[in-house]
């Protein structure tokens, strides 16, 4: 907000501080705009889902048809096909929660009047990635025991001197790389997408208001790009939610893979 005020004379491109939008209080526990969006999305999802599943009929109506479509995508195309039909059931609530929560939060980046992608604040994707992290570590240790879990990190049949190296690499992958990449991928996509939208919107606005002569016309392609990227963001919103649960399923599926 401050940037727009100061941009009266000279154009200031959108940057990270634009995402810091405290509403109440300051500091580490300030109530921010993204928190409100997150709580709103959670509330809407909980209410809508509970209400929509209250009266399910074997022959679905239109609303139930879409709900079942999304549920079927998460349950069958990802959960069952990746984790395997023997073990996927306990993880369906987790995957469905992740998918709907990420998708709706991402869509909030382009839906007026919210127009703020929650996942561009890294705390939220980190929270979700931590959930996945805990689940696949706990499931792995429960299935094989701590020793078995650690032994299973290294594929059998390696020369003995390679084993410690591979073990360390795999341990780092399991404990650090996976949750971090899961977090960063979602965060980065939403952050960058929103920066682009801001750039086209603010740049077009600046050109229109402060441009010299014909330069005002350049705001037209800027606004056009804004609309195009808004449409593109819908695709990204869906894709990132999909990729997130896809990778979560792959990590969980490894727990049940008999070989490494």
């Amino acid at each position: 907000m401050t940037t727009m005020v100061s941009a009266a004379e000279e154009f200031v491109p959108p940057s990270a501080p634009d995402f810091w939008q405290p509403l109440v209080g300051t500091g580490a526990f300030a109530v921010t705009r993204s928190m409100i969006v997150m709580l709103l999305v959670t509330l809407v999802l909980a209410v809508v889902m509970v209400a929509a599943t209250r009266r399910l009929s074997v022959v679905p109506g239109r609303g139930q048809y879409y709900l079942e479509g999304v549920y079927g995508l998460v349950r069958n195309s990802i959960g069952r096909d990746i984790i395997g039909s023997a073990h996927f059931r306990p993880y369906v609530p987790l995957l469905f929660t992740l998918f709907t929560l990420i998708l709706l939060n991402n869509l909030m980046g382009i839906v007026p009047p919210v127009q703020f992608p929650t996942m561009s604040r890294i705390g939220f994707p980190l929270a979700l990635a931590l959930g996945v992290y805990v689940v696949y570590l706990v499931a792995g240790v429960r299935r094989r025991g701590l020793g078995g879990f650690l032994r299973n990190l290294v594929p059998s049949g390696l020369p003995f001197w390679v084993v410690p190296v591979v073990f360390l690499l795999e341990l780092v992958t399991f404990l650090i790389t996976r949750p971090v990449t899961l977090t960063l991928r979602l965060f980065g996509n939403m952050f960058a997408g929103h920066i682009l939208l801001l750039l086209f919107a603010l740049g077009g606005e600046y050109l229109l208001l402060h441009g010299e002569g014909l330069l005002k016309l350049v705001s037209l392609p800027a606004f056009l790009m804004f609309f195009l990227f808004t449409a593109f963001e819908i695709l990204i919103a869906f894709l990132q939610a999909y990729v997130f649960i896809l990778l979560a399923s792959v990590y969980i599926a490894e727990v049940y893979a008999d070989d490494h």
Partner: protein
């Protein structure tokens, strides 16, 4: 740690405090907590209510479809059984028809045989009666001829001899004797009753 010190340095320059100029990859604790709480709340709601309801629906639907398949299979089996039954009945009817036909044929044969036997019997009877009648006729003819021949012979003899044999009784005796003599002259002549003159009647006829 170096990142944090950078951030702190950057924060000194800004006017919105540390978090305005912090690197965007540093999670805001409040947001992280809200994210975890929201995630857990929604997870519990889904796990308790939403997913069980949807799973129940899927199970019901699967059961419905399986029930439908079972019903269809039962109906198919029923239709098959009915078809088998009809086929059996048809085969039975065919054999029955064949039996009836055979029986009818046999009966016809029997009737034919009977008729033939009857006709043969009839014809034999007719032949026998004809023969009888023939024999009777011949007998009467023989008898008649015998009388006439006798009279003629006596008449002839009387004329030849010149005397009239008036006594009938004597005359008859003579003729009979004569005829008996004729019979006696040819006792073993074969076929004398048919090929020879009807005068020479075999003696057995009398």
């Amino acid at each position: 740690m170096s990142a944090l010190s950078d951030v702190t340095a950057a924060a000194e320059g800004g006017d919105g405090g540390f978090w305005e100029d912090a690197y965007p990859v540093i999670p805001h604790p409040g947001e992280l907590i809200v994210g975890i709480i929201s995630f857990l709340v929604l997870y519990v709601v889904y796990r308790r209510l939403v997913v069980p309801r949807l799973e129940k629906l899927l199970a019901e639907r699967r059961k419905g479809i399986e029930g439908g398949i079972e019903r269809a299979e039962a109906m198919q089996a029923e239709a098959k059984a009915a078809l088998e039954q009809y086929r059996a009945q048809l085969a039975e009817a065919r054999t029955e028809a064949a039996q009836i036909r055979d029986q009818a044929r046999a009966e016809g044969q029997q009737i034919l045989e009977e008729l033939r036997a009857q006709a043969q019997e009839e014809s034999a009877r007719i032949v026998a009666r004809g023969e009888e009648q023939l024999a009777a006729n011949r007998q009467s003819v023989v008898n008649e001829l015998r009388g006439q021949i006798g009279a003629l012979a006596v008449d002839l003899a009387g004329r030849v001899v010149g005397e009239s044999l008036e006594d009938d009784a004597r005359r008859r005796g003579t003729v009979d004797r004569f005829l008996d003599q004729l019979d006696g002259m040819a006792p073993g002549t074969p076929g004398d009753g048919r090929t020879g003159s009807s005068v020479f009647v075999p003696g057995g006829d009398r």
